[in-house]
Every structure is written in C-alpha cells, then in structure tokens.
Symmetry: C2
Subunit: 121 residues, 2 copies
Amino acid sequence: MIKRRKNSVPPPPPDCPLRKCMELLSGAWTPDIIWYLRDGERRFNELQTDLPGVSAKMLTTRLKRLERLGVILRSPKPTSPPTVWYGLTPLGLELVGALSVVVDIGHRLKQSHEGSFETRL
Amino acid sequence: MIKRRKNSVPPPPPDCPLRKCMELLSGAWTPDIIWYLRDGERRFNELQTDLPGVSAKMLTTRLKRLERLGVILRSPKPTSPPTVWYGLTPLGLELVGALSVVVDIGHRLKQSHEGSFETRL
DNA sequence: CTGTATCCTGTAGGATACTG
DNA sequence: CAGTATCCTACAGGATACAG
C-alpha cells in the first residue's frame, strides 16, 4: 500500500512528452548556461562571472545534469592549476536556436506592450 | 538603506534579455497550456482535463499571466452556464514552434541514450 | 462552469565553509 | 581553480472550501 502525504508531488501524467522534454531547460540558470556556451567553450570560472549571482553549488549541479543529458561536454585539461572547459554538443547547439526564438518573441511582445512588458512577467 | 535578508532573492543581473524572455515559459504548467492551445481554443474546464493534476488556482494564475503578456486571449461567452474560451495570439502561436524544437531535440537526445533519458532528467 | 481565498508544506537553491 | 558538504529559508504551488 502506497501512502501519499497530503502535499506530496502529484503522480506524473501517464504520457506527456512535452513536460519531459521541457525538463531539459528546467532549473535555475539552465537556459543561461546553454546561452553563454553558444559561442564556444567556457571554463567553470568564466561561467561563474557570466552568470552573476549563481552559486558554485548550482552551477556544478546544472552542468552535471546537462552533461548527463548529452547537452554539454566537460573537458578537464591537465594544466596547473587544473582547468575545466565546458562546451555544447551538436544537439545542445540546436537548443540555442529554440532559445533564440523565445528571445525574439519576447522582444516583440515587449514592443507590442510599449515598455510595460517586464512588469507583467 | 536597503536591508537584505540572508536568503532573499539575489538582485537581478543588470541586463539579461534571455532571463527576461525565458520567464515567458516559467511556472508550472505554462508550456503545457500553450501546447494544448496549439490546435485552437479550449475552455477552462477542458484545459483542466488536458492537464491532469493542475489545480484550479494555478490554472487561473497562469492563464491570467499569459493573457497579460499577450500570449493568449480570454473570451467569455454569455452562455448559460457561462463558458470561457482561451486561445493563442499570433505571437503565442509562434511560441509553439519553439516548444516543438525542444520536443524534437528531447526525442533525439533520448534516442542517443538508448532509453535511459528519463532517468537522467 | 469558472473561478477565489486560505492554509500549509516540499523543495529549489542561496550562504558559507572547506578540500584536492 | 573547480568543485563538495551543510545548513537554512523563501516561495511555488497543492488541498480544500466556498462564491457568482
């Protein structure tokens, strides 16, 4: 007998490809990381300054997951001190295209609202 | 003098168009709502059954925000009992394209991992 | 049918200190 | 430099009851 506490997470819908796929971009800083890798590899430390406010904990958490998912590649270089470069896989690079579309639409919605866009988010 | 509590939200980065624009899709059920409106208008009640697990509270919250943002349109019909239809604006419809790209990439990542994709999310 | 209003809690993620 | 390990809390969002 499976017990469910009152406010536990609801059972996942039987089949929901969109939700599954959107989890690719879920989590704080995830789209940002992909975005800042769009022009080539970046080191851990560079990403930390690219994303002002990110904690080392979240940055490593998100980088690890994106690597597991096949979106980014981790390349440690045996320099001294050691450095680690992160870059997008081909599929990761395609995600940048989707993000660009959202950015474009966002800008156009903003214009159509004559500047009050941010306050409506 | 502005006081900041210890674990308060960090100050927003000076200029970050991606983050602003990605907020369009933020919040539970937001992409799902857009997705289920892609083929035409739906009533409040229909959306509730389209999205098993959504609470009325969140559904109205998300619908209101998407309306404010210009992504969807709310059309109450003076029937009895009253019904309300929701549909995508032209810009909202363009968001569906971006979601489709993510879904497509998700499927291909899944294949490249030979089925262990879900467990990696 | 289409929502509001409360109340409550799990969890994401920040702060901080520490390691190889 | 590139992370780990802990600890802690704000807040998103579910449950429930109610209203027009």
